[in-house]
């Protein structure tokens, strides 16, 4: 039915119009940018959510290597024990566990590489703390108590790191929103320009149609059909190109062996959003064409 509607006879020779020849290209570029911006915003949001989810309810206690100690291993073991004891006595803490040297080395390996360098560095001890779900722990008081009880112990609730990440993700989302807004504005301007030029070129035909009784909506529908066909063609091309680009970027990201790089993945609902731009662009083009035609025709007798 849509195919029939698209290919149906038109009274206005819009197909060969120089004014609208560039429209599919403009829409393709707009949709391409929109899909990339949208995907970027969704991935940024998902990464923050994932990080936030994995860090909520966990704390890390870091114990610095004491300076000037003759027997370093014994001193560190003593500090770790005291810290663990204090933590386990604190209400609201479910589990506190010191990370082994191997675990700490594994955490640093992506940055420093494995082997001798890590072993030779005076690395601080790390204690992974899990809170009882829903428990309210006074982190400030706990940090003070830790610092007082164990020299060199510092509590990290990941809040600052997470806050920075959320700010980054929000900035990415705002940039994506701005890009979408600009892209929409450009698409609207392109359609308005094409429609106005077409109307100027075919003014004679439009006048004849009016004189034989055509209503504005009859004429507008021909422009709408034309805008629909062109923008759908351009939109789907831009969308396909954007998917190829995203696929390439995902492949490149997956082949990177970086611990903090987010694994690019989208939920099915987000895929639906990614599917939207070509159709949204088509809808905007059709609506814009309709409004532009009515606007121009409204000034004719």
């Amino acid at each position: 039915m849509i195919r029939g509607w698209l290919s149906s006879r038109t009274d206005l020779p819009l197909k060969g119009d120089a004014a609208s020849r560039f429209l599919p290209w403009v829409v393709a570029v707009m949709v391409y940018l929109a899909v990339l911006a949208l995907a970027g915003a969704l991935l940024a949001r998902d990464s923050v959510l994932r990080w936030s989810r994995s860090l909520t309810g966990t704390l890390t206690v870091q114990i610095a290597v004491p300076a000037g100690e003759r027997n370093l291993d014994v001193a560190m073991a003593d500090r770790i024990d005291r810290t663990l004891e204090l933590l386990r006595r604190t209400p609201g803490i479910d589990r506190a566990q010191a990370l082994s040297a191997d675990q700490i080395s594994a955490l640093l390996e992506p940055w420093l590489g494995g082997g001798a360098i890590v072993d030779e560095l005076p690395l601080p001890a790390l204690i992974d703390v899990a809170l009882v779900p829903g428990a309210r722990v006074d982190l400030k008081a706990l940090a003070e108590r830790l610092a007082a009880a164990v020299p060199g112990a510092a509590l990290d609730d990941h809040g600052k790191w997470l806050k920075d990440l959320i700010r980054l993700a929000l900035a990415a989302q705002a940039a994506a929103g701005l890009i979408l807004l600009l892209v929409t504005g450009c698409a609207v301007a392109a359609v308005v320009f094409a429609v106005r030029t077409s109307l100027a070129i075919h003014r004679d035909v439009v006048e004849i149609l009016h004189l034989v009784g055509a209503r504005d909506r009859y004429i507008a529908s021909q422009f709408q059909r034309h805008a629909l066909a062109l923008s759908l063609k351009g939109g789907l091309s831009g969308w396909l190109l954007a998917l190829i680009t995203l696929g390439g970027a995902a492949w490149a990201l997956l082949s990177l062996d970086a611990a903090l790089m987010p694994r690019p993945s989208l939920a099915w609902l987000e895929w639906l959003l990614i599917l939207l731009p070509p159709f949204a662009a088509t809808g905007i083009a059709v609506l814009t064409a309709r409004l532009a035609v009515h606007n121009v025709l409204g000034r004719m007798i």
Partner: protein, 212 residues
Amino acid sequence: MSYAGGPEIVSDLTFQLAAGSFHFLTGPSGAGKSSLLKILYLALRPSRGIVELFGRDVRTLGRADLPALRRRIGVVFQDFRLIPHLSALDNVALPLRIAGAKEAQVREHVSELLRWVGLGEQMNALPATLSGGQQQRISIARAVIGRPALLLADEPTGNVDDAIAVRLLYLFEELNKMGTTVLIASHNESLVQRFPHARLHLEGGRLERRTA
């Protein structure tokens, strides 16, 4: 009536076309016949005065009211005003399609009419490939295909030979017998005299009604 605030082309004309009547509009070139017709087929609005069409004062009509009135008016333009990229059939079919007629009926009626005006073989031809006379006949066929209540023709026989001109005027008479009000602007005196219809003569800005 004046163009862009210029001098008045026609003014202070008072006349009425009774429903079902047949009139010729005569007068020398530049007398304002085409301007008068343009006002009647709603391509121009009068700068002053009252024009009533089908009992409605055109001054009070909004843009949205015009298409319905225009569909009741068939117009033969002096310069044909055919749509160049549409075939003869599609040009003639225009008023029916705009009115939402069924495609099967459109093709049947248009084909029949085109055959009647002698263009049965040129149905799929584009206007540019046809002679002036053939284009004029397409223009006439387009004007009458919707059986309008009012037919306005601006020099409809200007590009055809006498035999075709007479045949076309018979077509207008047939339409008139079915109730269409007809007003034909023509300077072809011999043709006008062959048909015994009332005449509106426009000259020097004055309109004179002459009976046949």
